[in-house]
Amino acid sequence: MEVSGALLANAIIAGLLLGGFYAAVSVGISISFGMLDVVNIAHPAFIILGSYIAYIVNDQFGFDPIVVSIVVSPLFFLLGMVLYRIYYLCFERRGQESLRGLAFFFGILFITEVALVLIFGVDYRMVNTRYGDVTWRMGAIDFPMRLVVPFLVSMVMVIGIQLFLTHTFFGRAVLAVAQDQLALRLMGVNPVRVKELAFAISIATASVAGAFLIVIQPVQPAIGREYIGLVFAVCVLGGMGSIWGTLLGAFVLGLAETFTSTFFGPSWAPAVSFGLLLATLAFRPSGLLGR
């Protein structure tokens, strides 16, 4: 195969677009797992829930799935609050969050999947959008709107979350809760409340990420399991609790995947991606931008 400039440029663009999507599906985990120490293994299930809500509204009313996901994200926020409250009362407060909490989120994952199967059936679902089959071409470089639109919205979401966390009192409280809860209490802030709201934000991002997913590919209720490894890998590679790190980790994995697929063979892509993860952790155990 001849390596041309166009092939290289397309691989870079495709890697960045894919990275943007990976950042969207991982940013919630970066908050819950990286900052709050809540191993929300059910996060991909909420992403799929977001996909199905976007699907049903798109199918019935023809609304754009990404717009729908932004509109319904407050409901996901409320769901996140309720979920964290249950998790806190049943596990975290009793100091049983490590193993039993993990089992709790596994349970949530399966319950969500089964509920989706019962309501929507097991067939693949996909949405129709105006931009879904459109590709912009700039010379020899392709910009498929199916990936460009999720990328752009993802950037707004991830950068918005980062700015929110670093430029508001509540955001700084979330960063503080990851570092020293006692100090936060001494400042007169309730860490449980902070964690509850931060966890709710992480679940709200799943709504938007779910819409991206169903814009990009067909979805069935159990497809979320395929993303469990990926979201945690992005989070760990970027550095626990760092949103910029999550973005960087997502781009690194996206670029690694597209470069491997383009130039060496797609079956090597997971090995290269996870090899990169291992190498990074060997030389920088806290991840690319972790503290």
């Binding site: 495709a14 199967v117 067939d123 067909p218 069935q220």
Partner: protein, 419 residues
């Protein structure tokens, strides 16, 4: 004294006879239990659920006629989650705990292969549903498979695709092969390599990809960089959608594209991809244009389509469901003819007989595959929008092969026929 003793013995014998008779009658009334695993969740659940509906329709039809050998048919089944790892446990439980009388397979190569060692250890006659070339590795003489891929399935599967390719003028010289890292694509690609060797096509790209790939455009671009004249793809539904979309986005320029895409046979992908399917050459087992040649299907589809809408699975039912029903018809006819459940007799009977089913006459080859291939290679065209109704009517699918079902010629190149 002698009379009394005789009388006691006689009474005991009568009681024993009566007990045995009652037990026999009770046995005859016991349901005939057929066990299987089926993909009811996971990536192939849409197909698994559709197959289950078809099998349930068969069960209800049979029971309405009084069952088989006077016994009502009952299913015992478990969700294999489309995971090969669950299969050995499911079949062990079915045979040892549930004590089923017969077993059949779930849907697809990935879940049939892991059940084979258990069937072989216990000498069980195993009717299977849409496994591609599974028995090539096992050579089990009690294995039977209902997909019409012919006696050499890996080759028969893509025969029509390569026949159509070699019918082009000028003949193509290069081919790209691509598929998912899974059992079915591996088998299909193996057959495609054989075709390439036979026809003298130079393989310029031969790679697989992980099934959970999100973006397929780098793969399609890598294929395009090798300038293949034809592209054979062996994929499962989500990757079929990804490959077709990416071929459209990248603007893949090739003379033929498709071959072994699983997914476009179902309404879900047909409607979701819509016009993007135009120009794609792919296998199907039924085309509405051939309705007159499959009159027996109408009765089945009438029952199936009504249930499919309620259960939210493939509303067309052209692909897998009729064969799931036919698989059970073969078993039914074999049990009735042999008047029992003797595994050796069932296998012997299935080997030597021809079966009249909803998918037509079925005869099996020595390796348990169909004696003759009936894989239709088709080309999609004239699809507009995403309405499902257009796929129920003739005119959207040209059958390129086999000869007896041919309705038109191949239109090439692919990128100029996306209308």
């Amino acid at each position: 004294m002698t009379g009394t003793r005789f009388s006691t013995l006689g009474r005991a014998l009568c009681a024993l006879g009566l007990a045995l008779g009652l037990a026999g009658a009770a046995l005859a009334q016991q349901p005939l239990k057929i066990g299987f695993g089926m993909s009811l969740t996971g990536p192939l659940a849409g197909n698994g659920k559709a197959a289950l509906i078809a099998m349930e329709i068969w069960r209800d039809d049979v029971n309405a006629k009084g069952g088989i050998l006077g016994r009502k048919v009952e299913f015992v089944y478990y969700d294999d989650q489309t995971s090969p790892a669950t299969v050995p446990g499911i079949y062990t439980k079915l045979l040892d705990v549930d004590k089923v009388d017969l077993v059949v397979s779930g849907y697809g190569t990935n879940v049939i292969a892991p059940a084979m060692p258990i069937m072989m250890q216990r000498n069980i006659t195993f009717m299977t549903l849409f496994g591609l070339n599974v028995n090539s590795k096992f050579s089990y003489d009690r294995y039977f498979q209902i997909m019409p891929a012919g006696p050499n399935p890996a080759v028969g599967w893509s025969q029509g695709f390569f026949d159509a390719a070699m019918s082009m003028n000028p003949k193509p010289k290069t081919v790209a092969l691509v598929g998912a890292d899974a059992e079915y694509p591996a088998m299909a690609l193996e057959g495609a390599r054989e075709h390439a060797k036979k026809t003298g096509l130079k393989i310029v790209y031969d790679k697989t990809y992980p099934p959970n790939t999100v973006d397929y455009s780098p793969i399609v671009r890598a294929i395009q960089a090798t300038n293949p004249e034809i592209v054979f793809v062996a994929s499962y539904p989500p990757d079929s959608a990804g490959m077709v979309r990416s071929a459209n986005e990248v603007g893949l320029k090739t003379r033929m594209f498709g071959g072994g895409l699983v997914g476009p046979q179902f309404a879900a992908l047909k409607t979701q991809l819509g016009p993007l399917l135009n120009g794609v050459v792919n296998y199907e087992f039924y085309a509405p244009d051939l309705g007159s040649k499959f009159p027996f299907l109408e009765k089945f589809l009438g029952k199936y389509q009504a249930r499919a809408v309620v259960e939210k699975v493939d509303p067309l039912g052209f692909y897998l469901p009729p064969y799931a029903y036919a698989m059970m018809q073969v078993l039914d006819q074999a049990i009735t003819a042999t008047k029992g459940l003797d595994q050796a007799k069932l296998a012997e009977y299935i080997h030597k007989s021809e079966f009249d089913t909803f998918v037509g006459k079925v005869r099996f080859a020595k390796n348990g595959e169909w004696a003759a291939s009936r894989v239709m290679m088709t080309q999609y065209h004239g699809i507009t929008g995403n309405d499902v109704e257009q796929f129920k009517k003739p005119g959207r699918l040209t059958v390129l092969s086999p000869k007896e079902y041919k309705t038109g010629d191949l239109k090439a190149p692919y990128h100029e026929n996306k209308k």
